[in-house]
């Protein structure tokens, strides 16, 4: 059941309505039933996987807490890690690993036919496995208590707004809120619905529109000009951002209508001044997961430059692999690792050079140049990410640098292959402007609702959930820019409905890109 499907339009209001009508003691059962139904709508048999993950991590955490101080808690941690990761590896990477071994053997003239088993990839397995593992690891480290109530824990693992594509929540954030009685608030409901609208706008209007012009280039990479490939790469950067950030906003909005605040997953990633900053702004919860449970245990940046580089490469190799069972994702991860390592090596000489030549690195011009440079670095990464397989990724990146030309015919050929004509260019421009504006609308809703509900969530450390660092308007109570706000949401809703109808008329509902991970 995609968020942008008719089924969800019926499912969601029913769930929220019944949730608020029920007494608090029954809400967990309702949320669990709804979440499992939501997950089973893809494939009913997948429920056994989520049940196994939930059961194993619940028992392991409980035993880890009971065996505190003894060596048996390591056994329970090992058991949880091996079963959950084993499940993930089998369903997601088995064919990939098998074919990689076969390809490696073929390199040594041992000719073996490629084999492939028909293993269905369960939706969102990477997300809920990482969320369940974070819980077990937190209990093992003594950062969180083991949850005694199986029902609440099961809701934590399978909470439907963030089940299939994140944000990857922590025990202290989501479980604590699920445990606390939420009271109905019209403000929460309205803020949630507006966040959902922002998300749908990003997905249905911006991402799906850009997708129309990106797909033809990737289907015809061999004949595409460098300019066409560059435009497709740049547009895919925006498409991917709006697709995934749109999903995260819908998830946050849906949870907010039930009084629950999910972690913010994106914070204007393309305004980053460096690649490392990009990963602090893009898929924030996954970056935090890799930092806390892999990078820091490996030694982080405390053991010298060589070890730091090694740790970065390991983390980004696995981060790339997490995104998909294909070598192009690994290459994407290593590409990011290369630039992050380069930044860490070159940052000190660069700073001393700027100081020596009295260059103000905080000036608007320098920041603009850095952001533009970063965007040019992101484009090849986007091409690698979007290509189907390593060979296509190499073709795309090679094409980006080798097929430049000039003249009117070259320009015409480049735009023709993308399918961009006069009216399309205007549509793309408007979508680009909207990409920035929708962020500020979402920012406004986040800061506004955090002001309105300040003090209501006090038991958990949720300060990072609502990012109030930008454009914080402190006089919301007296703020009455009502008409323009109504108009903005009215036109956004109309554009979402029209874009959705345009796709649905063609018998197509575009899935969220991150569902495949």
């Amino acid at each position: 059941m995609n968020f942008n499907s008719i089924g969800f339009l019926i499912f969601f209001p029913v769930v929220v309505l019944v949730y608020w009508r029920l007494p608090f003691r029954f809400r967990w059962a309702w949320l669990l039933a709804a979440s499992w139904y939501f997950y089973m709508s893809w494939n009913p048999s997948f429920i056994f996987l989520i049940l196994m993950t939930t059961g194993i991590t619940y028992i392991s955490a409980w035993r880890i807490e009971a065996c505190a101080g003894s060596s048996r808690k390591k056994f329970w941690l090992f058991l949880a890690l091996s079963i959950c990761l084993g499940e993930l590896i089998f369903f997601k990477y088995f064919n990939f690993l098998l074919n990689s071994v076969v390809s490696a053997l073929n390199l040594f003239s041992l000719h073996i036919e490629p084999v492939s088993f028909n293993i269905l990839l369960p939706v969102g397995i990477s997300f809920y496995t990482f969320q369940a593992l974070s819980y077990v690891l937190d209990v093992y480290r003594g950062k969180a208590p083991a949850e005694k109530h199986f029902g609440y824990y099961a809701v934590f693992v399978s909470y439907f707004p963030q089940l299939v594509a994140g944000p990857i929540e922590r025990t202290g954030d989501l479980l604590t809120q699920l445990r606390k009685e939420q009271h109905f608030s019209g403000e929460d409901m309205a803020a949630g619905l507006r966040l959902m609208l922002c998300g749908f706008f990003r997905k249905c209007v911006i991402a799906d529109t850009f997708g129309i012009y990106v797909t033809p280039v990737f289907e015809n990479l061999e004949n595409a000009t460098s300019l066409a490939i560059f435009i497709a790469g740049a547009m895919f950067c925006i498409q991917m951002y709006c697709d995934f950030a749109g999903y995260s906003e819908i998830a946050r909005g849906a949870a907010r209508t039930m009084g629950i605040r999910l972690t913010r997953n994106f914070n204007r990633p393309y305004l980053s001044l460096s690649y490392s900053e990009f990963f602090r702004r893009w898929h924030i919860t996954l970056s935090r997961w890799f930092t806390d449970y892999l990078y820091i245990p490996l030694g982080g940046n405390r053991r010298g430059t060589a070890r730091k580089i090694f740790n970065t490469v390991v983390v980004f190799f696995l981060c790339g692999l997490w995104h998909g069972a294909s070598w192009n994702y690994v290459l994407w991860g290593l590409y990011a690792a290369f630039f992050i390592c380069l930044e860490s090596i070159a940052s000190k000489p660069a700073v001393s050079y700027c100081e020596k030549h009295r260059i103000n690195t905080d000036s608007t011009m320098i920041r603009l140049l850095r952001r533009s440079l970063m965007f040019f670095i992101f484009v090849p990464a986007a091409l690698i990410f979007r290509a189907e397989g390593l060979q296509k990724a190499i073709t795309a990146v090679a094409g980006l640098f080798t097929r430049w030309g000039s003249g009117a015919d070259y320009l015409k050929a480049s735009f023709e292959i993308s399918g961009i004509r006069g009216e399309d260019a205007l549509l793309i421009m408007l979508c680009l402007v909207c990409t920035g504006l929708v962020f500020y609308m979402e920012q406004y809703e986040t800061t506004r609702s955090s002001h309105v509900t300040a003090g209501r969530i006090d038991s958990a450390d949720t300060s990072h959930i609502a990012d109030t660092s930008h454009t914080a308007d402190t006089s919301y109570a007296s703020h009455t820019a009502y008409g323009w706000r109504v108009a903005a949401y009215f036109f956004s809703a109309a554009a979402v409905a029209l874009s959705w109808l345009l796709l649905a008329a063609g018998g197509d509902v575009s899935a969220f890109a991150y569902f495949q991970f």
């Binding site: 209007v205 549509l427 408007l430 036109f491 029209l498």
Partner: protein
Amino acid sequence: MKDKRPFLLIGGAMLAVTWVMLKGGSLQTVLLILLFCAVVSMLTFLTPETKEKNRNDSITEEEK
């Protein structure tokens, strides 16, 4: 609420959309109109001057 412009924009946009549809225009043109109006209203809403003006209006009303 003193500012009637956003509601005039909604009315005007609806008239324009109806006119385009009656003339047999494409749905992409309708989407362009809606997006253009969305950009105008978002920009106006998010402009600090608008927020400030509305805030001042509200304070004046409260004082009255």
